[in-house]
C-alpha cells in the first residue's frame, strides 16, 4: 500500500454527518491501535462545521434514536436528546479523537480507481487516496445565491432553525418554494419581511402555503412585502456588528436596494445524483430517488468507493453511525460481524436450523427469481425490515422463546395471510411450501409454490384487496413492508417489471372473469403500455373515433359529456374506460379526463376484439356491466352544476379519498362540536380544522385527512412510521421522529407537527389554567427542548364507535365519505 504523504491518504471520508463522523472516529481508533504517526485518513466537509444536515433541524428539536431494536455501534456517542445535545456530543468526540477534518472542502468529483483515487475539491487543492467512503447524505448541497459574499454567515443564512429568535428586524427571504414561504410567514410575525420571487407567481408552492402567503401579501396589516420578477444582483455585508447590510435587486421597475438585517436564501438543493455520477458511480435506475447498488460491505460498482448513511438507502442516524464504524473495518480488511447480524438471527428465529446467517440468506435468495438482480445489501435490508410467516415443520424449529417485533410468526396451515375487501400494506413472497390464492370472491383457490408473490394490487392501486390468500403446509413466507417494496421497485428494473406484470395480470383477470386462463392473457399483458395522466389531462375527446380502451391502474377518471361537460361517471383503479366505442359504437360518446394524477393501461382495439372473439361469455358480461354504468350515468347527466362541483371535490382530494370529512354548510350551525370531540379523543389536539378548508356551494371540505388511496404522506418517512389499518385508515405511529417530510408531502395540508403535550390535566386545574394568562396549549415555548410529532386524523381507529367528529355533530352536517360516495353527493 502507498504510504501517507501530504496529499495522499489511505482513506478519504466525505461528509461529516453521523455516518462520516462515525467512520472517521473508527479510522482514528485504528490509527491509534496501529501507532500511526500521522492520520491515514481525512474527513472532508463542504460546510464550515460538522453535520450541516442535523444542524439544520429546528432549534431544540428532539432527535430520536430509532429504530429502538438496533444497538448503537460507533466510537461517537449518540442517544436521543435535543439537537444541541446530540451535536454537542459529536463536537466533543470530534475533539477527543482529534479527528482530521478539513472544512469548507466541497468535493466535486472523484476519478481514478482503487488504490489511486483523485479527489476533486472545489478549491482545486490536489488530493489522492486509496479508498473513499462517501457519506455525503441525500439532502444535497444547498444552492448558494451566486453573488459575491454569499457564503453562509450570520447575515446570509441558508437555513432557519428558529424563526422566532428574530424580532423587529428587516429580513429578506429569497425563493418561492414552500420552505421560503414558511420562513417568510413565520418571520413576518415579529419582523418586516421582503420575499424575493424570480417569477411572477408562486407556482411551486403547496395550495395551503400559497393561500397563506397571498393573503399575507395582500393584507395591509401584515408586514410581508413581495417583489415579483426580481433577481439578486449583489449584496453587501454589514460594515460592523449590529449594522444593516443590503441587497440589490433587479426588478421590472429597475434597480432596487433593500437595507436589511438578515438574508435567508431558500433556493433548494442540488440533488446528489449529478455528483454521484461525476464520481463514476452507476445509479440503479432512472427513478428520481434511485441510489447506486452496493454489496454487503457497502462497496459500489467502482471498487474502492464505499457508500454509507443516507446514501446507502438507510435513512436514520443510528443506522448511519453503525455503518460508519463497520465500513472502516471492511476497508481495512478486518473480518467483523455487522452490527445488524443479531437482527437477522432474530428474523430467522431458528427456522432454518443451524445454518449460518449468510448461508440462509444465500439460500433464500436462490429461491426467489423476482429478486435475482437485487443487490446483496438490499436483500439483507429487506430481510431485516420484514417478517417471516411459518407453518408446519418450519414452525416447529422456531425458537419459541423469541417474541415481539420481528420474530417469525407461526401460522396454522390454511390460515389467512390476506383477506379480500381489506387494505394490505405488505407484499408477500413464498420461500418454502406454498400459498393458496383466491383471485376474487367466488373464484377457485389456486396454489403456488416458492418464488410466488402477492399483495401488490392493493399497494399499487390503492384500492382494497380483491383477492384472499392462505398459507399452505410446511411453508415459509416473507412479509415485506410497503416502503421496502416501493424502494426496491424504484431502484430495480426486474423487480419493478415483475411485480407490475403480476399486478396488471390480476387486473385483467378481474375484468375478464369468468376467467380466461392466465397464459392467454400473458401475451396481451406484455404488450400493454402504461400511460400517465396529470390531473386535468384528457384521455380522449367526445365524438372522436375510438381505437383503444383504457384500464385504470390508479387514480380517478371522469367521463364527461356535452358542452358544459356534465359528469356522467367516475372510474377508478381496476375499471375500464372507453370500452363503449369498441363494442359496436365506434364514436366516443363522452370525453375522459383524469381528475387526479392517474395511470391507465392502453388496450388496443385489435387485442380487445381478439379477446372478445375467443370468449363470447366475456362479451356478455362486459355488455351487462356497461348497461349498469349507463343507467347510473343517466341520473347524473340531468344535473347541470355537477361538473363544477365534481371539479371542486376532486381538487379537494375527494377523488382519491377513502374516508374524507365533508360538511354540509346548510346544516352546520358552527358549534365546533366536531373539533371539540376530536380534541377530546386525541390528547387535546384536534386533527381537524373546521373553519379552514375550501367550500363550494353548500359543500365544505375542512382541513382533515382524506385517507388517500395511495397516501402521499407515506412516500418519504425515515422510520416508516406511517401505516394503514386493514380498513384503509392512515395513521402515524409513535416511532415518528418529527422530520416533517409527511407534512410537506401531503397535498392537503392536514398534517401538523405538534409538540407532544403532557397528559391531560384534571378538569379543575384546566379551569384554573384557562383563567390564568400563561400558555397552556401544550405547545412548548421556543428555547426548551421540543419533542415534535406529526399529527393527523387517524379516523378514530382507537375510539370505539368510529369517527368522534361525526358522532358529535348535533345536526348531521358532518359526514365522512369515500370516493365511491361522491356521485351520490352530486345527486343531492
Amino acid at each position: 500500500m502507498q504510504s501517507t504523504t501530504a496529499n495522499h491518504y489511505e482513506l478519504v471520508i466525505i461528509g461529516t454527518g453521523p455516518a462520516g463522523l462515525s467512520a472517521a472516529g473508527r479510522a482514528a481508533q485504528l490509527d491509534l491501535e496501529n501507532g500511526a504517526s500521522s492520520p491515514t485518513y481525512i474527513l472532508l466537509e463542504s460546510a464550515s462545521d460538522i453535520s450541516s444536515n442535523v444542524r439544520s433541524y429546528q432549534k431544540g428539536k428532539h432527535v430520536m434514536n430509532e429504530p429502538g431494536y438496533l444497538d448503537l455501534r460507533s466510537p461517537m456517542r449518540f442517544s436521543s436528546g435535543s439537537r444541541e445535545e446530540v451535536l454537542g456530543n459529536w463536537e466533543d468526540d470530534t475533539a477527543r479523537y482529534a479527528l482530521n477534518i478539513r472544512y469548507d472542502s466541497e468535493v466535486t468529483g472523484i476519478s481514478g480507481s482503487k488504490g489511486a483515487f483523485d479527489i476533486q475539491l472545489r478549491d482545486k487543492t490536489p488530493l489522492g487516496c486509496s479508498a473513499v467512503v462517501l457519506a455525503s447524505g441525500t439532502s444535497g448541497n444547498v444552492r448558494l445565491i451566486g453573488v459575491e459574499n454569499d457564503r453562509p454567515s450570520d447575515f446570509v443564512r441558508y437555513t432557519l432553525p428558529d424563526p422566532y429568535i428574530f424580532s423587529d428586524q428587516v429580513a429578506v427571504v429569497i425563493g418561492a418554494g414552500d420552505s421560503a414561504i414558511e420562513d417568510a410567514l413565520a418571520l413576518s410575525k415579529q419582523n418586516y419581511v421582503h420575499i424575493i420571487n424570480r417569477r411572477s407567481e408562486f407556482s411551486r408552492a403547496k395550495a395551503g402555503n400559497l393561500k397563506d402567503v397571498l393573503n399575507a401579501i395582500n393584507d395591509s396589516d401584515s408586514r410581508l412585502e413581495c417583489h415579483y420578477d426580481s433577481s439578486v444582483m449583489s449584496l453587501q455585508l454589514p460594515a460592523a456588528q449590529g449594522d444593516q447590510g443590503c441587497l440589490v435587486l433587479t426588478t421590472p421597475q429597475g434597480e432596487r436596494t433593500i437595507p436589511c438585517d438578515l438574508i435567508i436564501a431558500r433556493l433548494g438543493s442540488l440533488p446528489p445524483r449529478a455528483f454521484l455520477e461525476k464520481c463514476g458511480l452507476t445509479m440503479s435506475s432512472q427513478a428520481a430517488g434511485a441510489l447506486p447498488d452496493l454489496d454487503r460491505q457497502y462497496q459500489s460498482d467502482v471498487q474502492g468507493i464505499y457508500l454509507i448513511g443516507a446514501l446507502s438507502g438507510y435513512p436514520l442516524i443510528k443506522q448511519a453511525m453503525n455503518q460508519g464504524q463497520d465500513v472502516v473495518d471492511f476497508v481495512a480488511g478486518n473480518t467483523i460481524v455487522p452490527a445488524d447480524h443479531t437482527l437477522i438471527v432474530k428474523r430467522l428465529g431458528g427456522a432454518f436450523g443451524d445454518k449460518g446467517v449468510d448461508d440462509v440468506l444465500d439460500y433464500m435468495y436462490e429461491k426467489i427469481p423476482l429478486l435475482q438482480s437485487v443487490s446483496p445489501i438490499a436483500f439483507r435490508e429487506l430481510i431485516i425490515e420484514s417478517r417471516l410467516f411459518v407453518s408446519g415443520e418450519w414452525a416447529d424449529r422456531v425458537d419459541k422463546t423469541l417474541s415481539g417485533i420481528g420474530a417469525p410468526v407461526i401460522k396454522p396451515e390454511n390460515s389467512f395471510l390476506m383477506e379480500a375487501g381489506l387494505f394490505v400494506n405488505k407484499f408477500y413472497i413464498v420461500v418454502e411450501g406454498s400459498v393458496s390464492i383466491q383471485p376474487y370472491a367466488g373464484a377457485a383457490w389456486e396454489s403456488s409454490g416458492p418464488g410466488a408473490f402477492f399483495g401488490e394490487s392493493c399497494l399499487f392501486s390503492g384500492r382494497s384487496q380483491a383477492s384472499s390468500a392462505v398459507i399452505g403446509a410446511n411453508s415459509v413466507i416473507i412479509e415485506i413492508p410497503r416502503r421496502i417494496l416501493i424502494k426496491l421497485a424504484n431502484s430495480n428494473k426486474a423487480v419493478r417489471e415483475g411485480v407490475d406484470q403480476s399486478f396488471v395480470l390480476g387486473m385483467l383477470q378481474a375484468i375478464f372473469k369468468p376467467k380466461i386462463p392466465s397464459k392467454n392473457l400473458l401475451g396481451l399483458c406484455a404488450r400493454l403500455k402504461t400511460q400517465t395522466f396529470e390531473a386535468g389531462e384528457q384521455l380522449y375527446e367526445e365524438n372522436t373515433i375510438g381505437d383503444c380502451l383504457y384500464l385504470v391502474r390508479s387514480g380517478t377518471i371522469n367521463l364527461v359529456r356535452g358542452e358544459n361537460r356534465k359528469i356522467i361517471a367516475d372510474q377508478y383503479a381496476g375499471e375500464l374506460v372507453g370500452q363503449l366505442s369498441l363494442m359496436g359504437h365506434p364514436r366516443r360518446h363522452n370525453s375522459a379526463v383524469a381528475t387526479t394524477r392517474a395511470e391507465a393501461l392502453v388496450i388496443d382495439a385489435v387485442d380487445f376484439e381478439e379477446l372478445l372473439h375467443n370468449n363470447p361469455t366475456i362479451r356478455k358480461k362486459l355488455e351487462d356491466d356497461l348497461s349498469v354504468l349507463l343507467q347510473e350515468n343517466n341520473s347524473l347527466a340531468t344535473h347541470d352544476s355537477s361538473a363544477k362541483l365534481m371539479g371542486f371535490l376532486m381538487k379537494q382530494g375527494l377523488g382519491e379519498a377513502t374516508n374524507a370529512l365533508a360538511i354540509d354548510s346548510s346544516l352546520c350551525v358552527g358549534c365546533d362540536n366536531c373539533e371539540k370531540a376530536c380534541e377530546d379523543t386525541h390528547g387535546g389536539v384536534s386533527r381537524l380544522q373546521r373553519a379552514l378548508g375550501d367550500s363550494l356551494g353548500r359543500f365544505h371540505v375542512p382541513t382533515a385527512c382524506r385517507h388517500c388511496e395511495t397516501p402521499h404522506c407515506m412516500k418519504d418517512c425515515p422510520p416508516d412510521a406511517i401505516h394503514r389499518t386493514p380498513s384503509g385508515s392512515v395513521y402515524i405511529a409513535d416511532t415518528c421522529i418529527g422530520c416533517g417530510n409527511c407534512e410537506s408531502n401531503c397535498p392537503y395540508n392536514v398534517i401538523e407537527l405538534v409538540a407532544t403535550s403532557e397528559p391531560k390535566a384534571p378538569l379543575w386545574s384546566r379551569l384554573f389554567n384557562a383563567l390564568s394568562p400563561s400558555n397552556s396549549s401544550g405547545r412548548a415555548e421556543t428555547g426548551s427542548v421540543v419533542v415534535k410529532h406529526a399529527m393527523k386524523c387517524d379516523a378514530c381507529m382507537s375510539v370505539s364507535g368510529g369517527p368522534a367528529c361525526v358522532r358529535a355533530c348535533p345536526t348531521g352536517a358532518a359526514a365522512r365519505l369515500g370516493s365511491e360516495q361522491l356521485l351520490s353527493l352530486l345527486e343531492k
Partner: protein
C-alpha cells in the same frame, strides 16, 4: 343520498316523530280515563301521578343531552340522534305536563312557576330548533359559499383602496372619508349583533360634528352630493366617483358581515335562555315534587 347529511327532523325516517306520537297518544288515553270519575281531573289522581312521573322523567332525560353532548367517547347513539329525540320528546313535554296539571295553572306559586320555567325552556328550544333548521342555509347563501374570512379580507382591501383614493382628494372630503372608515363599527355584544345595530359614525365637515353613518348611508349621501359639484374638475370627479362606488361595495360587504354575525348570534343566543332555565326548571321541579309528597 339517504345516509349522509340528513336533517334532525327526518333522522332515521322520522323515528322519534313516531315516539312523539306514541307518547302523546298514550298520555291522552291515560288523561281521558279520568273523566266521569268522582274526582275531577287533576295532578293528584293516579292518572295525574302517572303523567307527572312521565313528564319528570322526560325532563330529566332531556337534560341529559347536555351531558351526552360532551361525552365524546360515548357510544350511546350519535349526538344527532339524541338531538332528534330531544326535539320530538321535548315537544311532548308541554302536552304531557299540561294534562298532568289538568289546566290548574292560574295561581302563582312554586308549582305554576315551575310550569312557566318549563315553557321558557320549551319556547327557547323552539327558537333554537328554528334557527338550527333555517339559519345555516341562509348564512351560507349570505356569504356565497365563501369563508367569512374571505369577506373580511375583501373589506380591508377596499378600505386600503379608499384610503389611497381619499389622499388625492381635497382635505375636507378626505377627512370625511377617513373618518367614515375609522368610525365604522362592527360587532359588539351578542344582543347588538343579533339586532344588527350599526353604531358607525363619521365627522361631517359641513355640520361640524360627528353624525351617524349607519349602513354607510351618510357618507354615500355626502359623496353623491359632491359629485355634481365637481363636474368641471375632471380629476376630482373621477376620484369622487371611484370613492362613491367603493363605498357602495363597502356597504354591501358590511351588510354581509353584519348579517353573518347576526346569524351566528341567532344560532347561539337562545341557549342563553334554554340552559339557565333548564337549571331553574330542575330546581323548581325538585321543590314541586318535595312539596307534593311531604306537605300535600
Amino acid at each position: 343520498m339517504t345516509q349522509l347529511h340528513q336533517s334532525i327532523l327526518s333522522w332515521r325516517n322520522y323515528r322519534y316523530l313516531a315516539w312523539f306520537i306514541v307518547s302523546v297518544v298514550a298520555s291522552l288515553l291515560v288523561f281521558v280515563s279520568q273523566f266521569g270519575k268522582p274526582l275531577p281531573p287533576s295532578g293528584s289522581t293516579w292518572q295525574g301521578y302517572v303523567l307527572g312521573t312521565f313528564s319528570t322523567l322526560l325532563i330529566i332525560w332531556l337534560t341529559f343531552l347536555g351531558l351526552r353532548k360532551r361525552r365524546y367517547r360515548s357510544q350511546m347513539g350519535t349526538v344527532q340522534g339524541w338531538v332528534s329525540a330531544h326535539v320530538y320528546l321535548g315537544l311532548s313535554v308541554p302536552i304531557v305536563a299540561f294534562m298532568h296539571s289538568a289546566g290548574q295553572i292560574e295561581a302563582l306559586n312554586i308549582h305554576t312557576l315551575t310550569f312557566w320555567f318549563m315553557m321558557v325552556v320549551i319556547v327557547s328550544g323552539f327558537i333554537g330548533l328554528y334557527a338550527y333548521l333555517h339559519v345555516p342555509e341562509r348564512m351560507n347563501e349570505n356569504i356565497g359559499g365563501k369563508n367569512i374570512a374571505h369577506w373580511i379580507r375583501e373589506l380591508s382591501s377596499i378600505d386600503r383602496q379608499l384610503a389611497e383614493t381619499a389622499s388625492a382628494i381635497n382635505a375636507d372630503c378626505c377627512s370625511e372619508i377617513l373618518s367614515a372608515l375609522d368610525g365604522t363599527s362592527l360587532g359588539g355584544s351578542k344582543l347588538v349583533q343579533l339586532l344588527g345595530v350599526d353604531k358607525s359614525t363619521l365627522f361631517s365637515v359641513e355640520q361640524g360634528k360627528v353624525i351617524s353613518n349607519a349602513d354607510q348611508a351618510a357618507i354615500i349621501r355626502i359623496l353623491s352630493e359632491r359629485i355634481p359639484l365637481a363636474r368641471d374638475d375632471e380629476k376630482l370627479s373621477i376620484l369622487l366617483n371611484t370613492s362613491f362606488s367603493l363605498f357602495g361595495s363597502r356597504q354591501q360587504m358590511l351588510r354581509i358581515i353584519r348579517k353573518d354575525m347576526r346569524y351566528k348570534s341567532l344560532l347561539s343566543i337562545w341557549l342563553h335562555l334554554h340552559i339557565p332555565f333548564t337549571v331553574s326548571l330542575l330546581i323548581g321541579l325538585m321543590i314541586h315534587v318535595f312539596v307534593i309528597f311531604f306537605y300535600w
